[in-house]
Point group: C7
Amino acid sequence: MIKPLNLLSQKLNNRVIVELKGNREYRGILDGYDPHMNLVLKNAEELFENEIKRKLETAIVRGDNVIYISP
Amino acid sequence: MIKPLNLLSQKLNNRVIVELKGNREYRGILDGYDPHMNLVLKNAEELFENEIKRKLETAIVRGDNVIYISP
Amino acid sequence: MIKPLNLLSQKLNNRVIVELKGNREYRGILDGYDPHMNLVLKNAEELFENEIKRKLETAIVRGDNVIYISP
Amino acid sequence: MIKPLNLLSQKLNNRVIVELKGNREYRGILDGYDPHMNLVLKNAEELFENEIKRKLETAIVRGDNVIYISP
Amino acid sequence: MIKPLNLLSQKLNNRVIVELKGNREYRGILDGYDPHMNLVLKNAEELFENEIKRKLETAIVRGDNVIYISP
Amino acid sequence: MIKPLNLLSQKLNNRVIVELKGNREYRGILDGYDPHMNLVLKNAEELFENEIKRKLETAIVRGDNVIYISP
Amino acid sequence: MIKPLNLLSQKLNNRVIVELKGNREYRGILDGYDPHMNLVLKNAEELFENEIKRKLETAIVRGDNVIYISP
C-alpha cells in the first residue's frame, strides 16, 4: 500500500506523463507538487492528440485538471 | 455495512475496474488510495470505449474523476 | 422528518436505484455509504438508457455523481 | 427575513417542486433535508420536459443538483 | 465599500433580478438569503430567454447557480 | 508583490471590467467585494460579444463565475 | 523539489504565460498571487487561439480557471 502523494514524492526528478481534462497531456520532469496535486514540471512538453504543441522550460500545472499522473 | 473507503482497503493488491468521467476506464492492481479516492494503480490499462489505448506501469488517478470503482 | 443520511442507514441491505449524472443508472443492494454519499452496492447492474450494460459484483460509487437514490 | 433552510423546515410534509440541473424536475412530499440541501421526497414523480418519467416511493436527492425548490 | 452580503441584507423585501447559469432568470421579492447566496424569493417569476415560463409563490434558489443578483 | 484581494481593495470606486465564464462581461464601478471575489458593481453594463445587453444600477456578481477582473 | 507556490514566489516580476480553461491564454508580468492561485498580472495580453484579443494594464485572474502557469 502506497499513498498517492507518497508515490509522487518517490518520483521527484523522474519523467512523468500527466493527463489533463480536455485531452491535454504534459510530459516532463517532476520537480515539485503539493497536497492539491498542483505540480511543477521541468523541460515539459504539451501534447494535444499525441502531437507536441508547445515546449515549456517550467510549468506549474493546477491539480484540479489532472486525470492521472503516470511515472 | 461497510464504509466505501474500508472496502477499498480490503481490495488492496486486487485487480479493480475504475470508471472515470468522459468514458475513460482503467483496470489495474490497486496499490494505494487516500480519503479523496485518489488511487494508485499498478500494471494499468487505459480503455476508451472498450479498447485498450495505453498501458501504464503505474498511474495515480485523481479521485474527483471517479464514477465508480469495482473490485 | 428524516435526515437524508439516516434514510440511507435504514435502507442498508435493501435494493436501491442510484441515478447518476450522464444518464447512468445503477441498481443493487446498498451495502454501505459515507457522509459524502459515496456508496457501496452489491450485485449491481449498470444501466444506460434502460439497458443493462454491465454487471458488477461490488461497486463503490462516488457520491458527487449522484442525482438521486431511491430505495 | 427567512433563512432558506428555515423555510425548508416549515415546508416539511408539504408538496414541493424541485428543479434540478439538466431539465429534471421532481415533485413530492418533503420528508427531510440537511444543510447541503440534500432532500428526502416521498411519493415523488420525476418529470422531464413536463412529462412524468418515473414514480418513486422515496427519493434522496443530492443537494448539489438543485436549482430551486418551490413549496 | 459595501460587502456583497450586506447589500443583500439591505435589499430584503425589495424586488430583485436573479440571473442563473443556463440562461435562467428569476424575478421576485427577496425574502431571505444565507452566506452561500441561497435565496428565498416571493411572488417569483421564472424567465427563459425573456419569456415568463412559470410563476412561483415562493422559491428557494440554490446559491451556486447564481451569476448575479440585481436589486 | 500585491495580493489579488488587496488590489481589489485599492480599486474600490474605480471602473472595472469583469469577464465571466460563458462570454459574459460586466463593466461598472467596483463598490465592494469579499474573499470569494463576490463583487458589488454600480452603474453596471452587461455585455455579450461586445454589445450592451442590459444596464443594472447595482449588481452582486458571484465570484465563482469570474475569469478575470481588470481595473 | 520545489512547491508550486514557492516557484510562483520566485517568478514575481517575471513574464509568465497563463493558460486558462476555454482556450484562453494570458501573458504578462506576475505581480502577485495567493494560495488559490489567484494571480495579478501587469501589462497583460489576452490571447485566443494565438491572437491578441485585448491588452490589460492589470488583471486579477481567478485561480480556478488556471490550467498551467509557465514562467
